[in-house]
C-alpha cells in the first residue's frame, strides 16, 4: 500500500470517527431535550418535586463541550445541571430516578435535581449555590496538575455567577497556578428574573479572563460545532500544560428560570425568535451541510424512546426509607 493511500485511508477513518462523534452528539442533544421535556411534564404531574431548572435551549454548550472530553476528565455543573450530566455521559435512568426521589437514583434521592452527582462518569457534582462549583473545579484541576495527570477539569457557570466573589477569586488562582481548567460560561443573559445588564456594566464576560491573561473567546453557544471546536482548543491547551481557558457561550434558555416560573419578566414575543436558534435544529443543519448522514426523525424518536424506558424504570424504583435518612453523613 502506498503511503498516499494509507493517508487516504487514515483520513477516511478519521472522517468516519468524526461523523460518528457528531452523530453521538446529536443523540445526546435529543436525549437531553427529551429528558427535560418529560421531566417538565412529570413535574407538572407531581411525580417530580423540588426546584427544577431546565437547560432546554442551552444544550449546545455543554454537549458541544463534553464531546471533546475524555471519560477521566471531570465536570462540575450548576443548579441547571441535567444537560451537563447527560453531556458527560450520565445514565438517564439513574438521573431520572434521582429527580424522582428514588433510592435507585444516582444519590439515592438525597441530592435531587440540584445536587445530582455522577462521579462514575466524571460528572462530579452539581450545586444549588450559584458559582459554588467554580472553586470545586479549580481544586480538581490543581490536584490533576499536582499528580502530573493529563486529566482536566471543566466548570460550567451562568452569567449571573460572574458577579460573585468566588468567580473572581477562582479565575485569579487558575491563572496564577496555570491550572488545567476550562471555565465555560453559559451566558443566557438572565439571572433568575434579572437581565445581565442590571447586574454588571461588563458587556463581554470574556473580559474577566483577559484581565488575567487567560485565553478566551466569546462564541455562539447555540452552535454546538463552534463550542466543540473552541473547547477542543482549550482542552488541548489544558492537557499540555498551557493552563486555563475561559469560553463565553452566548445562549438562551427556552424555559422559565425554574419550572413554575411565570416568566413575566421576558418578552415572550421573542420566544419564536429564540426557537429559530434552537441548538438542536441548528446542529442538524450543520451536520447536513457537512455531509454527515442521519435520519432526523429516527434520531429524535430513538431518544424519546430511550427516555420513556428510563422513566419507566426510574419510577418503578423503590423510595428511600428511614434507614437512609441519616446514613452517609460521615464517610
Amino acid at each position: 500500500m502506498s503511503s498516499a493511500s494509507a493517508k487516504n485511508k487514515a483520513a477516511a477513518a478519521q472522517e468516519t470517527a468524526d461523523a460518528d462523534a457528531l452523530r453521538a452528539m446529536l443523540d445526546t442533544m435529543w436525549t437531553a431535550r427529551a429528558f427535560e421535556e418529560r421531566a417538565s411534564e412529570l413535574y407538572a404531574e407531581g411525580e417530580i418535586k423540588g426546584l427544577l431548572h431546565l437547560g432546554i435551549g442551552q444544550e449546545g454548550v455543554s454537549i458541544g463541550a463534553c464531546s471533546v472530553l475524555d471519560p477521566g476528565d471531570v465536570v462540575y455543573g450548576t443548579h441547571r445541571p441535567h444537560v451537563h450530566a447527560i453531556a458527560k455521559g450520565a445514565d438517564i435512568t439513574k438521573l431520572m430516578a434521582e429527580l424522582a426521589g428514588r433510592s435507585t437514583g444516582y444519590c439515592g434521592g438525597k441530592g435531587g435535581s440540584m445536587h445530582v452527582a455522577a462521579p462514575e462518569v466524571g460528572f462530579i457534582t452539581a450545586t444549588g449555590i450559584v458559582a459554588g462549583n467554580i472553586p470545586l473545579g479549580l481544586g480538581a484541576a490543581d490536584e490533576f496538575k499536582r499528580r502530573g495527570s493529563k486529566k482536566i477539569a471543566v466548570v460550567f457557570h451562568g452569567d449571573g455567577a460572574s458577579q460573585t466573589g468566588s468567580f473572581h477569586e477562582s479565575i485569579n488562582i487558575a491563572s496564577l497556578w496555570k491550572l488545567p481548567l476550562v471555565m465555560i460560561c453559559e451566558n443566557n443573559g438572565w439571572a433568575e428574573f434579572t437581565p445581565l445588564s442590571s447586574h454588571t456594566n461588563v458587556e463581554r464576560l470574556a473580559v474577566h479572563a483577559e484581565t488575567y491573561g487567560i485565553p478566551t473567546v466569546t462564541i455562539d453557544g447555540n452552535d454546538a460545532f463552534a463550542v466543540r471546536e473552541a473547547v477542543a482548543v482549550a482542552v488541548e491547551r489544558a492537557r499540555s500544560g498551557g493552563g486555563p481557558t475561559f469560553i463565553e457561550c452566548l445562549t438562551q434558555r427556552l424555559r422559565g428560570h425554574y419550572e413554575g416560573d411565570p416568566g413575566k419578566y421576558r418578552e415572550l414575543s421573542q420566544l419564536e425568535e429564540w426557537k429559530k436558534k434552537d441548538p438542536i435544529q441548528r446542529f442538524m443543519v450543520a451536520l447536513a451541510e457537512r455531509g454527515v448522514e442521519f435520519d432526523a426523525d429516527k434520531v429524535e424518536q430513538a431518544a424519546r424512546d430511550r427516555v420513556e424506558v428510563a422513566i419507566k424504570e426510574a419510577l418503578a424504583g423503590p423510595l428511600p426509607t428511614e434507614a437512609d435518612v441519616a446514613s452517609q453523613v460521615y464517610a
Partner: protein, 327 residues
C-alpha cells in the same frame, strides 16, 4: 378578628416602615420583581429603585454594603433569599454588622435587618432548607426573630427595622402562604425579646420555634382530649431570649419539650435546655426532651424529607414521653 397570610404581614411591615422612615431602604436579588416569594412585590413602584435596590449575586458584599450604609444613617433591610446563602455573608454579618457598635465603643450603630427564608419543605434539598438560627444566636450583637404567624411577621418586622441593632428575621418557607388570625393589637411593633404563651396548660410545656409553634398547638389540642394539658410557649426571638417566660412555664409544669426544625445537636434547643435546667432545677419532674432534625443534611427526596423533618408527630411523642416519665 381577621385572617392574614404570613407573607402579607411581611409586605405590610416593609411598606409601613418604608413609608414612615425615609432612611429605610431594601436590598436583595430580584426584589424589584417581588423576589421569589413576592414579599417585596410592587414596592419599587411606590418607593423607586434607589430605595428598592436589586443587587447582583454578591451576598457577601451586599450584606457588607448594607452595613456600610447603616454606619452613615441608613436603616437597610436586606433580603437574603435563603438562609443557606447567608453562609456567604457571615464575615460581614459577624465581624462587622454584629461587632461595629461594640468595637467602636458605641460610636457606630448598625440598624440593619436581614430577612431570610429558611426551613424544610417541597424537596428543595440541602442548599435551600437549612435552619441556622443557633449560629446567629451565638453571635453577640445580633438579634434573631423567628415569627410563627402573620401578626408576628408584621409586628416583629416593624420592631426589627426600628431597632438600632442588627436583626436577623427568619421566615419559614412553609408558612409563607398560610394564613393566621390577626388580633386587635395588630399593627403595633412587637418588642424583640418577649416570648408569648400561645396556649396555657398545666401538665407540660412545649417551647417551639417558628413553624413548630403551629405543630405544637395542634398536638396540644389533640392531647387535651386525652386530658394532657399542654402549655405552648413561643419565644418569638431567640436573641434576646425571654428566658423568664420560659422558666416560669417550666416551673409551673415541671416537664418541658423544646422543638425546632434545626438539627438538634448544637441547636437553639440546647441553649434553652441549659438555661431551664439551671433556673428550674428543683421544679423539673423529668429530663427535658428536644425535638429537632437528625444529624444529617436535608435530603431532597420527598420520601426522605418527610421522614427527616421534625413535626407534630415528634412533638407528640416527646410530650407523651415526658409526661409518662418514659424519657
Amino acid at each position: 378578628m381577621s385572617r392574614r397570610r404570613f407573607v402579607d404581614g411581611i409586605r405590610l411591615a416593609l411598606r409601613e416602615e418604608l413609608e414612615s422612615d425615609p432612611d429605610v431602604c431594601l436590598y436583595g436579588e430580584d426584589i424589584t420583581l417581588g423576589g421569589p416569594f413576592g414579599a417585596t412585590r410592587d414596592l419599587v413602584d411606590a418607593f423607586g429603585e434607589d430605595r428598592i435596590r436589586n443587587t447582583p449575586i454578591s451576598e457577601a458584599t451586599v450584606v457588607g454594603l448594607a452595613i456600610g450604609a447603616a454606619t452613615v444613617g441608613a436603616r437597610p433591610v436586606v433580603e437574603v433569599m435563603f438562609v443557606d446563602f447567608i453562609t456567604l455573608a457571615m464575615d460581614q454579618l459577624v465581624n462587622h454588622g454584629a461587632k461595629l457598635h461594640y468595637m467602636s465603643g458605641g460610636q457606630i450603630k448598625v440598624p440593619l435587618t436581614i430577612r431570610s427564608t429558611f426551613g424544610i419543605g417541597g424537596g428543595w434539598g440541602a442548599h435551600h432548607s437549612q435552619s441556622l438560627e443557633s449560629w446567629l444566636m451565638h453571635v453577640p450583637g445580633l438579634k434573631v426573630a423567628m415569627p410563627s404567624c402573620a401578626a408576628d411577621t408584621r409586628g416583629l418586622l416593624q420592631a426589627s427595622i426600628q431597632d438600632d441593632s442588627p436583626v436577623i428575621f427568619l421566615e419559614h418557607r412553609g408558612l409563607y402562604f398560610t394564613s393566621q388570625e390577626v388580633g386587635d393589637d395588630d399593627g403595633k411593633p412587637i418588642p424583640l425579646g418577649q416570648a408569648i404563651v400561645r396556649r396555657t396548660g398545666a401538665d407540660v410545656t412545649v417551647v417551639a420555634l417558628s413553624q413548630m409553634v403551629n405543630d405544637a398547638l395542634t398536638v396540644a389540642e389533640k392531647l387535651a382530649t386525652e386530658g394532657i394539658d399542654v402549655e405552648v410557649v413561643d419565644p418569638r426571638t431567640v436573641a434576646p431570649l425571654d428566658i423568664e417566660t420560659i422558666v416560669e412555664s417550666a416551673r409551673k409544669t415541671g416537664r418541658v419539650v423544646v422543638a425546632h426544625e434545626a438539627v438538634i445537636s448544637g441547636g437553639v434547643g440546647a441553649e434553652i435546655v441549659a438555661q431551664i435546667q439551671r433556673e428550674a432545677f428543683d421544679y423539673l419532674d423529668a429530663p427535658i426532651v428536644r425535638v429537632g432534625a437528625p444529624t444529617a443534611p436535608v435530603p431532597a427526596a420527598p420520601a426522605l424529607e418527610d421522614l427527616f423533618a421534625p413535626g407534630g408527630d415528634e412533638i407528640e411523642a416527646a410530650v407523651r414521653a415526658v409526661v409518662q416519665g418514659a424519657v
